[in-house]
């Protein structure tokens, strides 16, 4: 097996699960999420030489994945994820209470505007640092931190208000 092949296989092993979850919450569709992850890794394979440092692999892969996701919208303008009518995912063995709570949290995250949701997903699902998120989203770090603050603030408010939908959330 070549070094390139070994390097690639370890990237797949390390990152495929996280990337799938991130993709899932971007598109809310397991099939599309899998396609996105497949396409991301295929592109990563084809340009693996351009990844100089394996420590930078995560933001690099995420940048590819976000670009692939954007392409999907170029191809099919109307294919928006309908948060309200989403089929929510089965979350392993959890009690009914926990499941309901998780469903409520998922809905509230879905209601966040994309500019708040995406940095939050990158931080919570992908474990990205503020710097990495800034690099991936091409924003400065202060903006990222402000959005993360607002994302959690809105979520906490929404979830403590007895699961009422947030109205007139400030921007």
């Amino acid at each position: 097996m070549t070094t390139k092949q070994k390097r690639y296989e370890s990237l797949v092993q390390v990152y495929h699960s996280e990337l799938y979850r991130f993709a899932y919450w971007l598109c809310h569709d397991p099939t599309v999420a899998e396609d996105l992850v497949q396409e991301t890794f295929l592109r990563a394979w084809r340009s693996l030489e351009s990844l100089q440092d394996d420590n930078a692999a995560k933001p690099w892969l995420l940048t590819i994945l976000r670009r692939e996701n954007a392409r999907r919208f170029e191809r099919k303008q109307f294919d928006y994820a309908d948060v309200e009518n989403d089929t929510l995912v089965d979350n392993r063995s959890v009690t009914l209470d926990e499941e309901m709570e998780q469903t409520v949290i998922q809905r509230q995250i879905g209601k966040l505007s994309a500019e708040y949701r995406e940095p939050l997903l990158l931080q919570v699902v992908m474990g990205c640092s503020g710097e990495e998120i800034a690099e991936i989203l091409e924003l400065n770090k202060n903006t990222v931190m402000t959005r993360l603050y607002r994302a959690r603030n809105q979520l906490k408010e929404a979830l403590t208000e007895n699961h009422e939908p947030i109205k007139g959330a400030s921007n």
């Binding site: 890794f41 394979w45 993360l148």
Partner: protein
């Protein structure tokens, strides 16, 4: 760090070590840190969707197919630059002449061996593919396996001489074995002989009710026994 900054930074990142250290001597801030960390754990768990089984394997298979389809033609173009183009086209012409003149049918056995070599990496996989996953694929050809004589480590659809077929690898006591399930309808290859081999592999073709079962294994293994076992476990729905 004033109260406002503390709050902003904690909400932006509940694992910010500077913020956590800052709260150590302040019980009120400490409890807010705990609250936000619990909240993050809740978020994380709500976002923890199940990853489809075998995803990593499918990603690697796709890459290998991509490599096979890209690297080989590229090497061709590089090797044969202009002066060779004429020669190449003559070789092609002669080749076509011989193919049409003799109309040699490609032997199924030869094709099976070529196929095994082409995807020879598939033999080295060790991660198990559940029988259920195999059966989901096989169902598309209308069949089902009750069991297989070994752990399945590779299952994918392949083009077998123009026929969509199922390509399996299982790990037997005699090492990895390849099975092709090729629907009988419309397959164009000929098999005059049910046994075939080269210097490394041997194989056997059996005609089934709806599909041919082709088994390829290392030379010297009791192929007939395994073939019987595999085709015996295959049911058509």
């Amino acid at each position: 760090m004033d109260e406002l900054e503390f709050r902003r930074r904690l909400f932006a990142d509940p694992n910010d070590t500077e913020v956590i250290d800052h709260a150590i001597d302040n019980p009120e801030q400490q409890s807010l840190v705990d609250e936000l960390q619990d909240f993050d754990a809740q978020l994380k768990s709500a976002l923890q969707v199940e990853v489809p089984a075998g995803l990593a394997d499918r990603i690697l298979v796709q890459q290998q197919e991509d490599q096979a389809s890209n690297v080989i033609p590229l090497a061709w173009y590089r090797k044969y630059d202009k002066p060779f183009a004429t020669a190449a086209s003559m070789v092609l012409a002669v080749g076509i002449y011989f193919m049409s003149a003799t109309s040699a049918p490609l032997q199924a056995g030869e094709h099976a061996l070529e196929h095994v070599y082409y995807e020879v990496n598939a033999l080295e996989r060790s991660q198990e593919v559940a029988l259920q996953v195999v059966n989901e694929k096989l169902a598309m050809l209308g069949g089902q396996f009750d069991s297989l004589p070994g752990k399945v480590t590779y299952a994918t659809f392949c083009n077998f001489k123009g026929q969509k077929s199922l390509h399996l690898v299982f790990q037997s006591e005699h090492g990895p074995m390849t099975v092709f399930i090729v629907p009988a309808q419309g397959n164009e290859y000929k098999h005059n002989d049910s046994h075939f081999n080269d210097e490394r592999f041997a194989g056997m073709i059996g005609n089934g009710q709806k599909a041919d079962t082709i088994l390829v294994a290392d030379i010297g293994t009791p192929i007939e026994d395994y073939h019987n076992e595999v085709s015996g476990a295959l049911r058509w729905l």
